[in-house]
């Protein structure tokens, strides 16, 4: 646990806050309150008092995205409690608690009067080695997903190989349900991914790897649960002939659902590079209406030299995210990389809680520029740009996976937080989309290379980018935190003055 007093209470209206005389006090958790890709604020959760042998009085403080105080709430809970994530659906707050001792996840919904209005508890059957939440959350996304301003969706592993539980909780309607999804057939691993939800349906992308030690074949499908009671509306495979689609995003239109994903010409989607993008249209019952597959050669090839899924000089692009714009186009954010064996590289853990492994073989990935594209709903690339980024390397891969395909290594690197792309955010009306990344480069021609935070912004049909050094040059320690679109939050610690400052830094794009 962090050992600093980081209560946000009393932040007032200043963007820059100073805490004098910082002392060692245990803070349980600190985190972001999100509405899917929108940062709505931050929480700090700390142990306030011991009530009895088993119970602790916790204090939960919230501030908005501008660090203005929103209020505080005292909550009774078990001794080994963690607040792992938080969401805001436009009306209510949802907090996800993890009880380490009982391996229980509890979703609690509070209204804006800080009154608990709903809750849902799930006992987790899955027991990873070591058993702590970090290991658990590395398998199941800890983020709470927001169902179109009306409720929260969460996924819990029931059995990591063959089943997971979809949970839904709504503070307004008081609807709470849990549905276990356990399709026929066994798999090595099964991972749910939230696609989208509205008042009628919750869409989940399901990825499964077939059983067998050396089997790398995957199955992908879309699970649609009724928002009202969780019953399965449809469960459709995204294999269409020789096209194997990994769904990334889903968009609700009047009488149909448009699924955007990566298309592969093989079932080995974890070990090969995608062939291009897929746009699938289905009706509300999951019946296929239209499909459109366009290879990167056909589309992106006009902008970047591509052959056999690679750019020139053995470079690949790894697609991190696909996001819908306000104007019904899609923005794809990707990162250029190639397999390498060179030594050196940077140890960049400004955002990531995962330390880079140093033990391993000689194989690593060389990471280069970011690539952004705007694509219409027919898969035509409207514009594409490389955003310059310093050449960096991932950590060394363990020798037993070093010989695997570059794309699988990239996938592993992303899951371990080794790639330079960090996250996608947007503002409330999606008129601004931002993609953040880590850079190691000279910001000025005559300056030294520094570790930088970079941001690509899409606004009014244009891409722009800006970077700032991660470390405040006067501080002994700097740490960055995601902030509202166009900003990044920088914590600076000044050892001599025992002072902590928090600045909301505006990027210039």
């Amino acid at each position: 646990m962090a050992l600093m007093l980081l209560s946000f209470k009393g932040f007032g209206q200043d963007a820059s806050k100073a805490f004098d005389g910082v002392k060692d006090i245990t803070l349980r958790n600190i985190g972001v309150i999100k509405k899917n890709n929108v940062i709505e604020g931050y929480f700090s959760f700390y142990e306030f008092d011991k009530v009895d042998r088993k119970t602790v009085l916790y204090r939960l403080n919230l501030v908005d995205a501008n660090l203005n105080d929103l209020g505080a709430k005292d909550i009774l809970g078990p001794k080994e409690w963690e607040l792992v994530s938080s969401g805001f659906d436009g009306n209510n707050f949802c907090f996800k608690f993890w009880d380490e001792k009982t391996k229980t996840i509890e979703l609690k919904v509070y209204d804006q009067q800080a009154k608990e209005i709903s809750s849902s508890t799930i006992k987790v059957n899955y027991k990873p080695t070591g058993g702590d939440y970090q290991k658990y959350s590395s398998m199941a996304t800890p983020e709470i997903n927001i169902a179109n301003n009306n409720g929260f969706v969460d996924y819990v592993f029931n059995d990591p190989n063959n089943a997971f539980i979809v949970s839904y909780i709504n503070g307004n309607t008081k609807k709470v349900w849990q549905q276990t999804y356990e399709p026929e057939g066994k798999s090595k691993v099964m991972i749910p991914g939230y696609l989208n939800a509205n008042d009628d349906v919750i869409l989940t992308g399901v990825s499964r790897v077939e059983k067998g030690m050396y089997n790398t074949k995957t199955d992908h499908s879309i699970l649609a649960n009724s928002t009202a009671d969780g019953h399965v509306l449809f469960d459709m495979s995204t294999e269409f002939g020789d096209n194997h689609v990994v769904p990334i995003n889903a968009i609700f239109e009047k009488d149909k659902i448009v699924i955007v994903g990566l298309n592969y010409k093989t079932a080995k989607t974890y070990t090969t590079a995608p062939d291009g993008l897929a746009f699938i249209e289905v009706d509300k019952q999951g019946k296929l209406l239209k499909s459109n597959f366009k290879t990167f050669e056909e589309s992106l090839g006009k902008y970047l030299p591509i052959a056999d899924h690679r750019l020139q000089d053995d470079y690949y692009i790894y697609i991190h995210d696909i996001v819908r714009t306000k104007n019904n186009t899609n923005i794809v954010v990707a990162e250029k990389f190639k397999k390498g064996t060179d030594a050196g590289g940077i140890a960049m853990a400004a955002f990531s809680a995962f330390a880079r492994s140093t033990a391993g073989g000689p194989i690593k990935l060389q990471l280069e520029n970011m690539v952004v594209m705007e694509i219409d709903m027919d898969g035509n690339v409207l514009q594409a740009q490389e955003i310059p980024k310093g050449k960096t390397s991932t950590g060394h891969f363990p020798s037993y996976i070093g010989l695997m395909s570059p794309y699988l290594l990239a996938m592993a690197a992303e899951s371990w937080g080794w790639m330079d792309y960090m996250y996608t955010l947007k503002n409330e009306d999606s008129s601004e989309l931002t993609f953040s990344f880590i850079d190691h480069d000279k910001l000025d021609a005559d300056a030294k290379a520094t570790d930088n935070f970079g941001q690509i912004k899409y606004k009014d049909g244009k891409f722009s980018s800006d970077k700032i050094p991660i470390k405040n040059e006067k501080a002994d320690l700097s740490h960055l935190f995601p902030a509202k679109a166009g900003y990044v939050m920088q914590f600076n610690y000044f050892k001599k003055q025992k002072k902590l400052t928090i600045n909301l830094i505006k990027l210039n794009n």
């Binding site: 604020g41 509070y110 505006k506 794009n509």
Partner: protein
């Protein structure tokens, strides 16, 4: 828009009527007798601690030393105004009250705090301070005199001093110490009980503070009756204080953009939905935390007093409406200058936009707006805008133009800010007399 134009025309006419040309003031912020004042503060502290036991004396002295240091720091850092117009005028009002009440002038000091807050305050040593922001709402000299009488009431009743001593006595009392010790010995619920104890103390002090405000009003009215001022309009002061938070603006931010024919991005002004976590406090809790009684109840008491026993007199005794208007204008300019000195460029720009609406042809204001826009571009380009502009805040008050400006500065891109600066410069270059460095910075930005 029309109403706003009328308002602007009225304000301009008001200032023009009294022959006020909008030129820079040669204000001074230098207090010539800091050493004497320090000696006075030390002597007062000594007198105030004479009756206390050693332990309390030490704690009391520490509190007072901290307060005195802050006061001297503010004096040294140009936090108070000692000009040749506002200071002598306001000081003469206070002196007149002291004389009419046969109070020893050497026991009191008067300062003008350059803050834009609508407030006046006093200390245990007899220092009475009026914020520049208060001058913005005052209509007549008698209202100002009533405020000073109220502050003198606090001094004469030794409210500050008594509150500090009472607090120290309570915190050092055997009962209180035994209670804290007993709580700390417990295994569970220690922090909750300590917080409860603290809150009970806060409620107690706030309740006491409200009764002190009423007492200061009562004594203030007695002091006021000994002056030559009329009591007819003074109760209106509470209406003015009550509405101070909804200060009338001379110009909305949108009107400023329209006037300068600047392109508006509708997203800049899109209201933010206010989030909360925890409802409004229960009425009894909120009331218990107030330090001042409601303006309405104070007004009722004062009205009743002056209705039952009218106080004849004049609205102005030491000055006149022209002199009051002159210092109101000085207040507008100096409050803004102080924001700049405090590196609060966001608030400074807001104050300049308001002042520009009142004095539309003032080359100093035009120049200052241009310089501030150039500075904001430079700060934003260097990624340190947060050092000079406060974060935006959500508000239910759609007349809060400062909130709108902060929101605009929060959302505007550097390119657009440079574009706005460019348009502003071209619209007003005939009146802008910026130094060469600012023009160079401006040219660099545009390149």
């Amino acid at each position: 828009m029309y109403i706003s134009l009328l308002k602007r025309a009225f304000l301009f006419a008001l200032f023009a009527l009294f022959g006020l040309c909008a030129t820079a003031q040669s204000n001074t912020y230098l207090y010539t007798n800091i050493e004497g004042y320090q000696a006075f503060l030390a002597q007062t502290a000594l007198e105030n601690t004479s009756g206390l036991n050693k332990k309390l004396q030490k704690q009391y002295s520490k509190i007072i030393e901290e307060k005195n240091s802050a006061l001297i720091k503010q004096l040294n850092e140009k936090g108070f105004l000692f000009d040749t117009q506002a200071y002598p005028y306001l000081n003469s009002i206070l002196n007149n009250i002291l004389e009419k009440n046969s109070l020893d002038k050497s026991r009191y000091h008067f300062f003008i705090d350059r803050s834009a807050e609508v407030n006046a305050y006093s200390y245990e040593d007899g220092t009475v301070i009026c914020d520049l922001g208060l001058l913005g709402i005052i209509e007549n000299e008698d209202q100002l005199a009533m405020v000073f009488c109220h502050e003198l009431g606090h001094c004469l009743l030794q409210h500050c001093n008594k509150a500090i001593v009472a607090q120290l006595e309570k915190l050092n009392s055997p009962e209180f110490l035994a209670r804290v010790k007993a709580i700390k010995k417990q295994r569970y619920g220690v922090n909750t009980q300590l917080e409860g104890l603290l809150m009970a103390d806060v409620f107690d002090r706030r309740r006491h503070s409200r009764s002190q405000e009423r007492a200061a009003d009562s004594l203030g009215m007695i002091l006021f009756r000994n002056t030559g001022y009329s009591g007819k309009n003074v109760a209106r002061l509470f209406d003015l204080l009550d509405s101070a938070e909804n200060k009338t603006t001379a110009c909305t931010i949108k009107e400023f953009f329209d006037q300068e024919k600047m392109d508006l991005d509708t997203g800049w002004f899109k209201p933010v939905k206010q989030m909360r976590f925890g409802g409004n406090e229960k009425k009894e809790t909120a009331d218990s935390l107030k330090t001042h009684p409601d303006c309405a109840s104070r007004k009722a008491i004062m009205l009743a007093s002056f209705n039952d026993n009218p106080k004849p007199g004049a609205e102005f005794v030491t000055g006149n409406i022209s002199r009051l208007s002159a210092i109101k204008r000085i207040a507008l300019f100096d409050e803004a200058a102080y924001s700049k000195e405090k590196d609060n460029y966001g608030f400074y720009l807001y104050q300049l936009i308001e002042n520009d609406a009142i004095f539309p042809s003032d080359n100093n204001i035009k120049t200052a707006i241009f310089e501030t826009l150039v500075s904001l571009c430079k700060y934003q380009r260097s990624h340190i805008l947060y050092t000079v502009v406060n974060s935006p805040y959500a508000t239910d008050d759609d007349k809060d133009e400062y909130a709108k400006l902060l929101q605009l500065l929060d959302r505007i891109s550097l390119d657009k800010l440079i574009r706005i600066t460019y348009i502003y410069y071209n619209n007003n270059k005939a009146l802008i007399t910026a130094p060469k460095q600012t023009i160079n910075d401006y040219n660099t930005l545009n390149n």
